[in-house]
Amino acid sequence: MSDSANIDTYRRRFLGGTATALAGLSVAPGVFLHEVARARPADEAVTSDVRWGMLIDTNKCANGCNDCVTACNEEHGLTGHGRPETDAQWIRKVELRDKQTGHTQSLPLLCQHCEHPPCVDVCPTGASFKRADGIVLVDKHICIGCRYCMMACPYKARSFIHEDLQDQLPHAPRGKGTVESCTFCVHRVDNDRTPACVEACTAENHNAMVFGDINDPDSDISKQLKQHSSRQIRADLDLNTGVRYRGI
């Protein structure tokens, strides 16, 4: 009895703090998803009714623009150590040049959040796992740092943490000896916000990245996917990636 009353007092106390936070958000339009109406309560588990996906239009992706990468690094506190070979990259810009025609393009590459992720198949402890809503994550609590997932990932999406870290962000815990990769900004998605990279791309008015629920036929991303042709990188592996590309 009194316990539940306490919880409510506690929550209301938190709510007070949140009001200002929300006020800050409302001045930045475009941060909210289109699915706000179906927002999931914080104490309810994710379900497979939702599958998060991303559509990247390489035609809109500006050559030389690195905003999605910068936003990701800031969001997760990915600071380099001046050692590019061992520094973590969750999202990177890849430049392509057709060997035959000379045509060039540029696109962001991140964890593709496969429906059948090879990293999850090979992980000996099950630390590499796929959430019900399709987000592929590493449970760093049981990751032993064997790096077999990095061997198995066809997209080179994962990084190993090669050194001690300090000052990690509360929503992005990361530490030496474990493997990590793009989380689709799961901490934001759980709070009905879009990933940082998408937000940054939209803020620059490039609009090359769309994020949403590909199980919901009415979502923006589903409509675009239905209307235009898109493809998966290494579609031959039949992994049914959550990230799709237009223009490659």
Binding site: H81, T86, E95, R97, V122, G126, I144, P154, H162
Partner: protein, 402 residues
């Protein structure tokens, strides 16, 4: 009439302790290297986000593969009933366990979180071939231990064949599992081939036997026990067959890849313009590690010399390490093919050949694994009767006419 083979522990004393002390130095250095790597993080090694598995894995996989091969001598004796191999069966089992322990130690000490070994033992993802391998490795140690016990305990002798058969089947599955670590990787051009599993099995025959021959010759020499030519020649002829078989598998593997256009890039890299990997392939794996030992083992002059047989065995081991290096590190050095027909560049080293230079701690850790295996053999032969008192020709084969 049946002759009883006599086994006895090797003697203690100066020679034993100085040998153990010498090996112990390498074990300590290996442990120190592991501590250095774990304390600082893997950035002090040559391994990166591109070359994910490095020199420790070359040594670890080599040792694990050789471990299952080292058991072959025992299998030939117990399962296939070849009596001349019987005196060697116990040592074969001991060496198998020792090599596996050495390899696993390297593998575990290279983990990002070796402190979480207990997690690897308690959380299993049964779709992972790695998880299966953990069970296969532990099972191997247990089964071979029981097998040795059956051989050593006279009352249990009649179970030897059964235990030997079980161990033989288990080791085939184990090496299949080890090969499949690479065979099951769809992501990389150099892997993703079912051939990996049988190729690893035949590699294990070759590497395991080469190590066994060296260990046997050293053990008999240092413990002043006679070792007749009969058994040595049998072993070296067998080794020649195994070397040729490995060559055959390597040839089939590359021929298949050469036929498939999408694999031309990686084949070109390994066979033609891969720099260190190409050199390692042609000069170390093929020439030094296969053709030269074959010639040495079958040439009428060198094939009868203990020294040359030893050198041939050593060359097989060096060639085997080179082969592992090419498979594991060469396979990662070649970039992932994400966009066929495109030149790919990025800040994350996409599209380029990935650089790797082995660092000292990695090599020291790998050598430490070998030292752990050898230390286990030395201690094992000291405390229990693994080594026959005599391997002279008339002991090995009573019908042998002197």
């Amino acid at each position: 009439m049946k002759q009883q083979i006599q086994f006895r522990e090797i003697d203690g004393g100066m020679r034993f302790y100085s040998l153990l002390g010498f090996i112990g130095l390498f074990v300590l250095a290996g442990l120190g290297a592991a501590y250095f790597m774990e304390h600082n993080g893997h950035h002090v090694t040559g391994m990166t986000n591109q070359i994910i598995w490095g020199t420790p894995h070359v040594f670890a996989v080599f040792l694990i593969v050789a471990a299952s091969g080292a058991l072959n001598v025992a299998s030939i004796s117990s399962v296939f009933g070849k009596t001349p191999y019987k005196p060697l069966a116990r040592l074969s089992g001991l060496l198998a366990i020792a090599l596996l322990v050495g390899g696993l130690a390297v593998l575990v000490l290279d983990l990002g979180r070796p402190d979480r070994l207990i997690v690897a033992m308690t959380y299993y993802n049964f779709k992972s071939i790695f998880a299966w391998n953990i069970i296969l490795y532990i099972g191997f140690i247990a089964i071979v231990a029981v097998y040795i016990w059956m051989m050593m305990e006279r009352r249990m002798n009649h179970f030897t064949k059964l235990a030997g058969l079980f161990a033989f089947i288990w080791r085939l599955i184990l090496t299949t599992g080890t090969g499949s670590i690479f065979g099951f990787l769809v992501a990389r051009e150099a892997y993703d081939a079912a051939l990996m599993a049988p190729m690893f099995i035949i590699m294990s025959f070759s590497f395991g036997l080469a190590i066994f021959i060296l260990v046997l010759m050293a053990a008999c020499k240092w413990s002043d026990r006679p070792l007749g030519n009969l058994i040595v020649y049998r072993l070296k002829n067998l080794l020649g067959v195994f070397i040729a078989s490995v060559l055959y598998f390597v040839m089939v593997y590359h021929l298949t890849n050469l036929y498939i256009t999408e694999h031309h890039g990686v084949e070109r890299f390994i066979l033609l313009d891969g720099g260190v990997y190409t050199n390692l392939f042609w000069f170390v794996q093929i020439l030094l590690g296969s053709l030269v030992p074959l010639a040495l083992l079958y040439h009428p002059a060198t094939g009868k010399s203990r020294g040359w047989i030893g050198i041939a065995s050593l060359l097989v081991i060096i060639g085997g390490l080179a082969q592992m290096y090419i498979i594991i590190i060469g396979g990662q050095a070649y970039p992932l093919e994400l966009f066929p027909g495109m030149e790919v560049t990025s800040s994350f080293f996409d599209g380029g050949i990935n650089a790797y230079v082995p660092s000292l701690p990695e090599v020291v850790l790998g050598v430490g694994g070998i030292a752990i295996a050898l230390a286990a053999v030395v201690i094992g032969t000291r405390v229990l009767g693994f080594l026959p008192v005599s391997l002279a020709d008339d002991q090995v084969d009573p019908h042998h006419a002197a």
